[in-house]
C-alpha cells in the first residue's frame, strides 16, 4: 500500500542510521530532510511545512522529551520517536508529551513504514481529532461513537459503559499507541493514573467480547511496556 509523497524530517545523530533512514524513505517516494542536532530540527520545523517527524531520543544537545514541546510550538505534524530498548520511561514520557507513536531500535523498514502509513492516514482526515459523529470501521469491527454502539461482523456487541469508553479512546487514535497513563486518565480520571490493573482487566474483557482469540488479538493490540493500540486496518 502506497501513500502520497510526504515531507519528512529525520532527527538522528547516528550517521549510519540517518543515511539508512533517508535512503529507505526516499525509495518510497518521500522528500526527506535530516539533521543530527535539536537546534537545527527546530529551525527546519519552523521554516518548512512538514508531514512527519522522526525523532531519535539520544540526541547530543537536547533530550528528546524536552525537544518535543519545542517542536510542537512550530508544527502539528505527526511525530514518531525512535528509542533504544532501555528507554521505556523516556518513551512513555514522550508519548505523553505530544509524540504520536514510537519505534524501538533495532527496527525493520516494514515496521517503520507501517507506522508511517497509519500516521499518514490521520493526516488525510480533517486536522482535529475524530468528532463524536464519526463511525470507525476496521475489518469486521464497526464502532459508532455517537450512538455508543459496537457491531462485530454485523452482530451488535453489548459493552458496559467503561468498556465502551476504553474502546472509544483507543478508536479515536486508531493505528497509534495510547499509553497506560493516558488510558487511565481518559477513562477513569487523573486519580487513577497508577492503577495499571484497571486497564488490563478491562482490555481482557474487551478482547473476550471482540476477539476470536484473546491471546492473538486482531483489533486490540498490545504495545508491551507502553500501552495499547487499535489496529488501523
Amino acid at each position: 500500500m502506497t501513500t502520497d509523497a510526504m515531507q519528512i524530517l529525520v532527527v538522528e545523530d547516528d550517521m549510519q542510521l540517518r543515511s539508512m533512514l533517508i535512503t529507505s524513505l526516499a525509495s518510497f517516494g518521500h522528500l526527506v530532510s535530516a539533521t543530527g542536532s535539536a537546534r537545527e530540527a527546530r529551525s527546519i520545523a519552523a521554516e518548512s511545512r512538514l508531514d512527519l517527524i522522526l525523532l531519535d531520543l539520544g540526541l547530543p544537545d537536547l533530550d528528546g522529551s524536552e525537544l518535543i514541546p519545542l517542536l510542537r510550538q512550530e508544527t502539528q505534524a505527526p511525530l514518531i520517536v525512535i528509542s533504544a530498548r532501555d528507554q521505556e520511561e523516556q518513551k512513555v514520557r514522550c508519548l505523553d508529551a505530544g509524540a504520536d507513536d514510537y519505534l524501538t531500535k533495532p527496527f525493520g523498514m516494514s515496521e517503520l513504514m507501517a507506522r508511517v502509513r497509519s500516521l499518514a492516514r490521520r493526516m488525510q482526515r480533517p486536522q482535529k481529532e475524530a468528532t463524536l459523529a464519526d463511525t470507525i470501521v476496521i475489518g469486521g469491527l464497526e464502532i459508532r461513537l455517537r450512538e455508543h454502539q459496537v457491531w462485530l461482523h454485523g452482530e451488535p456487541v453489548h459493552l458496559t459503559p467503561v468498556e465502551f469508553k476504553l474502546l472509544a479512546v483507543l478508536a479515536r487514535k486508531a493505528g497509534r499507541v495510547t499509553t497506560h497513563r493516558q488510558l487511565l486518565r481518559d477513562v477513569w480520571g487523573p486519580h487513577a493514573e497508577e492503577q495499571n490493573h484497571y486497564v488490563r482487566i478491562y482490555m481482557r474483557q474487551l478482547r473476550n467480547k471482540l476477539e476470536l482469540d484473546a491471546s492473538q488479538p486482531r483489533y486490540l493490540l498490545t504495545d508491551p511496556g507502553v500501552g495499547y493500540r487499535l489496529a488501523m486496518e
Binding site: 467503561v162 491471546s215 492473538q216 498490545t222
Partner: protein
C-alpha cells in the same frame, strides 16, 4: 548468746541505736566478770573485758568500743583488783591495759573498715565490668551505625555520673571504656561493609569477564556470516541469481536478529545481577504476555507452528512483564533452534496458589545428562555448538527472582516441555464497580 554477724559490721541501725546497744553489752560483760571473780585470777577476768571490747568493735563500731573499754577497765579496777571499790596508785598500770584494749579496738575497727571498703569496691568493679560486658554483648548484635550509637547512649544513660567517671580494668573511667567499645564496634561494622563491597565487586567482575568472553566468542560467528554475505553481495564481479540474492539478504537479516537476541540476553543477565531493582512488578494478564511473545516470533517469519492453550478466567498475575516475555521468548527460541520442533504449544494453568506456564514442543527431547545440566550457565547441549548457553540460565534467574520454580520434562525423542510457576497473590486486584447501565 547474741548473734554477731561479721558481715554487717556497724551497719546495725543508726549511730544512736549502736550507742544504746552498748549498755546491755557492757552490763553482760560486768555480770560475767563478777560471776568469774571467785574462781579466776584477775589476769583471766580482764580477758572478759577484752573479749567484750572486741565483740563490740565488730558489731557496734569504734565509738561504742571506746566506751566499753573505759567502763570495763574501770569496773575491773574497782571490782577485781584490791583495794576493791577504790582506785590506788598502783592501778595506774591498768592505763596500759586500757591503751592496749583501745589499740586492739582501733585495729579491728580499721581492718573492718578496709575490708568493707574492699568489698564494696569489688562490688562496684563487678557492676562496672558487668555493665561493660552487657554493652559489648549488645554491640555484637548491632546491625548498623545508628543502632551502635543508640545502644551506647542507652547504656551511658543507665549509669549514674559517679559510676561513669570511676575507673574499670585498665581504662581510666567507665565512660571512656564504653566509648572505646562503641568505636571498636563502628570500626568492625565499617570493615564488614568494606569486605562485603569487595566481595560483591569481585563477583560482578567475574560475571562481567565471563560475559565478555562469551560475547566475544559468540558474536563473532553471526558477524562472520553477515560480513561474508554482505561483502559477497557488494562484489560487482559476483553473479547472483535473484533467489540466491534474496537468500543472502535473508541470512544477513536472520543472523542480525540472532545477535540482537544474544545481546538482549546478556544485558538482561547483567541487569538481573545488578543491585538496582532488577525486577519491576506489575499486574499482567497471562494471555497478553503469551500474545506478545507470539507476535514477536511471527515477526521473525518462522515456519514453526505455535498454538496456545490458555484457560479463560486466569486471574491477573503479579510479575515483571518484560522479563516474563524474555523467558517465554528464550524457551520458544530453544525449542526451534535446539529442539528442531515443528509444533510448539504455549500455555498456562492455575494450580492452587500458583500459575504454571509451559512451553512444549514435538522436537527431539534431551538426554538425561543434558537436562540435568541444562540450567547451568554456558552449557550447551552435547553436540550442539550454536547459541551462548545462557538462555535457560536467564530463564531460571528470572523465575527465581519472582519466587517461582522452573523444570524440564524431556524424554529423549519425545519432545521437550519446560514448566515454570509464578506465585499468585491471595487477593486478586479489584476495579471499582460500574453502575448498571445498558450501552
Amino acid at each position: 548468746m547474741l548473734a554477731f554477724s561479721f558481715g554487717a559490721g556497724c551497719s546495725g541501725g543508726g549511730s544512736v541505736a549502736r550507742y544504746i546497744l552498748v549498755l546491755p553489752a557492757i552490763a553482760l560483760a560486768l555480770l560475767v566478770a563478777w560471776l568469774m571473780r571467785p574462781w579466776f585470777e584477775p589476769t583471766n577476768v580482764v580477758m572478759v573485758y577484752f573479749l567484750a571490747v572486741i565483740l563490740v568493735t565488730l558489731r557496734l563500731g569504734f565509738g561504742p568500743a571506746i566506751i566499753t573499754a573505759f567502763v570495763g577497765i574501770t569496773a575491773f579496777d574497782l571490782v577485781n583488783v584490791p583495794p576493791f571499790l577504790e582506785f590506788s596508785d598502783s592501778d595506774v598500770q591498768y592505763v596500759f591495759t586500757l591503751a592496749v584494749m583501745l589499740f586492739t579496738a582501733f585495729t579491728i575497727h580499721r581492718l573492718m573498715q578496709r575490708w568493707r571498703d574492699k568489698v564494696s569496691e569489688a562490688a562496684a568493679q563487678e557492676r562496672r565490668s558487668s555493665a561493660l560486658y552487657h554493652l559489648s554483648a549488645e554491640l555484637m548484635d548491632a546491625k548498623d551505625i545508628q543502632v551502635i550509637d543508640a545502644i551506647l547512649s542507652r547504656h551511658l544513660a543507665i549509669l549514674p555520673a559517679s559510676e561513669l567517671s570511676a575507673p574499670v580494668g585498665d581504662a581510666s573511667d567507665v565512660q571512656q571504656a564504653m566509648q572505646h567499645m562503641a568505636e571498636q564496634a563502628h570500626r568492625h561494622y565499617l570493615l564488614q561493609q568494606q569486605m562485603r563491597q569487595a566481595q560483591l565487586q569481585y563477583e560482578s567482575e567475574q560475571l562481567r569477564n565471563t560475559i565478555l568472553n562469551a560475547l566475544s566468542h559468540d558474536l563473532r560467528t553471526p558477524l562472520a556470516t553477515i560480513i561474508g554475505a554482505a561483502s559477497s553481495l557488494q562484489d560487482t564481479q559476483a553473479m547472483f541469481a535473484p533467489e540466491a540474492r534474496q537468500q543472502m539478504m535473508a541470512v544477513i537479516h536472520d543472523e542480525a536478529l540472532h545477535m540482537k537476541g544474544m545481546v538482549q540476553n546478556f544485558l538482561d543477565m547483567a541487569r538481573l545481577h545488578s543491585k538496582a531493582a532488577p525486577v519491576q512488578m506489575d499486574w499482567q494478564a497471562a494471555e497478553e504476555i503469551i500474545g506478545n511473545v507470539l507476535q514477536a516470533q511471527h515477526r521473525r517469519q518462522i515456519s514453526v507452528r505455535i498454538t496456545t492453550s490458555i484457560p479463560n478466567c486466569v486471574p491477573l498475575v503479579r510479575c515483571d512483564g518484560y522479563l516474563l516475555e524474555r523467558v517465554l521468548d528464550n524457551l520458544v527460541d530453544n525449542a526451534i533452534r535446539h529442539g528442531h520442533a515443528q509444533h510448539i504449544r504455549l500455555g498456562c494453568e492455575q494450580q492452587g496458589a500458583q500459575l504454571c506456564f509451559f512451553v512444549s514442543d514435538d522436537g527431539c527431547g534431551m538426554s538425561t545428562q543434558d537436562s540435568s545440566r541444562a540450567f547451568e550457565p554456558f552449557t550447551r547441549l552435547s553436540g550442539d555448538n550454536s547459541g551462548t548457553g545462557i538462555g535457560l540460565t536467564i530463564c531460571r534467574d528470572i523465575i527465581k527472582a519472582h519466587g517461582g520454580d522452573i523444570w524440564i520434562d524431556a524424554p529423549p525423542g519425545q519432545g521437550t516441555t519446560v514448566y515454570f510457576t509464578l506465585p499468585m497473590p491471595d487477593a486478586a486486584p479489584a476495579v471499582p464497580a460500574e453502575p448498571e447501565a445498558e450501552s
